[in-house]
């Protein structure tokens, strides 16, 4: 697809059902993917995210429903035209042990080359540019299997770029990555959507990261999909509802999940909003199962800003602590 045509594309699923009849994972939904958007598909485990991703990528057939690209039915496309429309990055691993980074990225040119797969100068330039875009052009000649997980994920994204498709679909692109790589990969995907006008769909478990990076959420909710901006889905309480579980609750103030604990003790502590010491003191107390009250209690904790010390008063007498480790050690040994 020519870059000038890539701006206003729409990829649609109409009346789509997936799963194994009569137990549909997702039943009779309509979805729209637009150019320049990063869409995150979220939902509890087993809700059909992977199946939906694979169906949209036409790796597996839909139970019913049709896919359209710019109002044209895409199932009529031959598989090689299809490969010019959608590139995928999957969780399945590269099997062969002696493929170089170049070999893997060059495979993205497969739908564009002749029956011999000969790479022309254009193809080589596109491969080089794709490697640069994801920041791994220094790894070109390394063996894929010698790379770190973060580097491997970049190689697969470069492969998807070399395929030059308007749509890129990624199945859990940040799984198995450390925090820095997770953030960098999401940044990269956001840039590709906003600057290169790609349609990017990812499935992910990283709710907090997705809230900060994705333009749209597709939230799988009991066989349907809620489509909206992440912020709207939080404000309408839908995100909290879908993900609420006994051990976990979503804190709309923090935009993150909190672990729900049974609070067995009470302590009087008045935290100041915005004070880092107070914030992390709360975290430490929560972990020990303390219910923080503003009412007087048999334990009272104070943080002295001038000396940066913690003062505990109440049923164990008066104690002073230099750090939170000492405080939690004391509380643990006295409360149990």
């Amino acid at each position: 697809m020519k870059p000038d045509k890539i701006h206003n594309c729409v990829f649609e699923a109409k009346n789509l059902s997936i799963g194994y009849p009569p137990n549909f994972a997702i039943f009779n939904i309509n979805l729209q993917l637009k150019s320049g958007r990063l869409v995150a598909l979220l939902g509890p485990n087993g809700s059909g995210k992977s199946t939906l991703i694979r169906t949209l990528a036409q790796l597996i057939p839909a139970v019913s429903g049709e896919l359209y690209f710019n109002q044209l039915l895409v199932s009529k496309n031959s598989s090689s035209n299809w490969a010019k429309l959608i590139a995928v990055v999957l969780t399945s691993t590269v099997l062969s042990h002696n493929l170089s980074v170049f070999d893997v990225v060059a495979s993205g040119r497969f739908p564009h080359t002749n029956w011999l797969g000969k790479l022309g100068t254009d193809d080589l330039a596109i491969i080089q540019k794709s490697l640069q875009q994801v920041g791994i052009d220094n790894l070109t000649n390394r063996y894929f299997h010698h790379l770190s997980d973060g580097e491997k994920q970049r190689v697969m994204i470069a492969k998807a770029l070399a395929q030059q498709t308007p749509i890129i679909i990624l199945d859990e692109p940040t799984a198995h990555l450390d925090l820095i790589n997770r953030v960098e990969i999401m940044h990269l995907l956001q840039d590709l959507a906003h600057q290169e006008h790609k349609m990017i769909l990812i499935s992910t478990h990283e709710l907090d990261l997705a809230i900060q990076m994705a333009d749209r959420f597709w939230l799988v909710d009991e066989g349907k999909i809620l489509d909206g901006a992440p912020e709207d889905l939080i404000l309408s309480d839908n995100l909290q509802r879908v993900f609420s579980k006994l051990s976990l609750h979503f804190d709309p103030q923090m935009g993150a999940f909190r672990i729900r604990r049974s609070l067995t003790h009470q302590i009087h502590f008045v935290p100041q909003i915005g004070n880092q010491f107070h914030f992390w003191t709360l975290n430490g107390l929560n972990k020990l199962g303390f219910d923080i009250t503003e009412k007087p209690s048999d334990l009272t904790l104070l943080f002295d800003d001038s000396t940066a010390k913690w003062l505990l008063a109440g049923k164990f007498g008066e104690q002073q602590f230099d750090n939170l480790a000492e405080l939690s050690d004391f509380l643990l040994s006295n409360l149990v």
Partner: protein, 342 residues
């Protein structure tokens, strides 16, 4: 550029060696025929009756048969190794050649060879049954390979299929008449020598068709090395590829086994030699490389089998085992991660 240059040199060197091996096979045998006599017999028809007969009726068909076998089995081995993603796959180790043997046994021992309509009928029947037997075993192994992901286990399954077909052949032998049994035993020795011109014609046709068909597999097999889902997403019809590999390798293993008898280890060993010489997994290079190296290796095995200067001829099967089996041991030692079926 440097890579391309060394590629050209390697192919040129192999071609020269192939031509040398062809002439060596024509020259050597129970009597040595000088190089210039061969030349004049082949191209100018100015030779003694004896030399004419030896070259045109004995050594030339045998040499061409060796080349065809050297094309066919290694090509089948390469395709099977890529399809199963298993370095130990090959027409013999997966039991496909044994399936072909069973086909031949059914045809010969149940009396197909006595319905002597013509030499063509016999050759056609024996190759049809061999190809059918090869295809049935390959389909069974492929079915089981979906349940087993350990490559050594798959190998054992292939060996078991070999044992089953071997047992069936023994049962057939037990109930056969002595005349039919004799025909079959002679076939099992495996020989490139007894192949007639009309059989060479059939072999050439099928082997060339298979080579042409497999050319269109080069590009998709390269992507299949990544993994099946990615190949699918790039527009490769994995089912079509699997179907083609089954057809081609059954044709190749079947036709070779029908006429030359069971020939072992060449199919698995040559693709590894090719990968080692060219240091690549690119099927666009490996496919022609496998054909060249396979033909050279078979010609050399046949040359050894002739024991030049003597009247004795060793069974070709023993020679290919002596050459091929050490290659497999070497692969296992080199590839310590072989258990992961990659």
């Amino acid at each position: 550029m440097a890579r391309n240059t060394s590629l050209v040199w390697k192919f040129a060197a192999l071609s020269v060696i192939l031509v040398g091996a062809i002439f060596a096979n024509l020259m050597a045998g129970s009597t040595l025929i000088p190089f210039f006599d061969i030349f004049s017999t082949l191209f100018f028809d100015e030779s003694s009756q004896v030399n004419y007969y030896i070259i045109w009726e004995l050594r030339l068909p045998k040499t061409i048969a060796a080349i065809l076998v050297g094309f066919a089995l290694p090509l089948a081995g390469l395709l099977l190794q890529s399809l199963f993603r298993n370095p130990l796959a090959g027409p013999y180790v997966l039991g496909i050649s044994s399936g072909a043997s069973l086909g031949v046994a059914i045809f010969v021992l149940l009396g197909g060879s006595t319905l002597y309509a013509s030499a063509w009928f016999f050759s056609g029947g024996i190759s049809f049954f061999a190809i059918l037997g090869a295809m049935l075993v390959l389909l069974a192994v492929l079915g089981i390979s979906h349940k087993i992901h350990d490559s050594v286990s798959l190998l054992i399954v292939g060996t078991m299929f070999g044992s089953i077909t071997g047992a069936l052949v023994s049962v057939l032998q037990y109930f056969s008449s002595p005349e039919l049994l004799q025909r079959f035993i002679i076939w099992t020795f495996g020989s490139l020598g007894g192949i007639h011109w009309h059989e060479i014609g059939m072999m050439t046709t099928l082997v060339l068709v298979s080579i042409i068909l497999s050319f269109q597999l080069m590009k998709p097999l390269n992507v299949l090395l990544i993994n099946e889902e990615y190949a699918l997403s790039l527009g490769v019809s994995v089912r079509k590829i699997r179907f083609l590999v089954i057809i081609i390798s059954s044709l190749l293993a079947g036709i070779v086994t029908a006429f030359a008898g069971p020939i072992v280890f060449i199919g698995i060993a040559v693709p590894h030699l090719a990968r080692n010489v060219f240091r690549t997994n690119d099927h666009r290079i490996l496919l022609p490389a496998v054909l060249l190296i396979g033909a050279i290796l078979m010609l050399m095995c046949d040359l050894i089998a002739q024991l030049p200067g003597s009247d004795i001829v060793l069974p070709i099967n023993s020679v290919t085992s002596l050459v091929g089996a050490p290659v497999i041991i070497w692969i296992i030692i080199q590839n310590k991660r072989i258990h992961e079926a990659r």
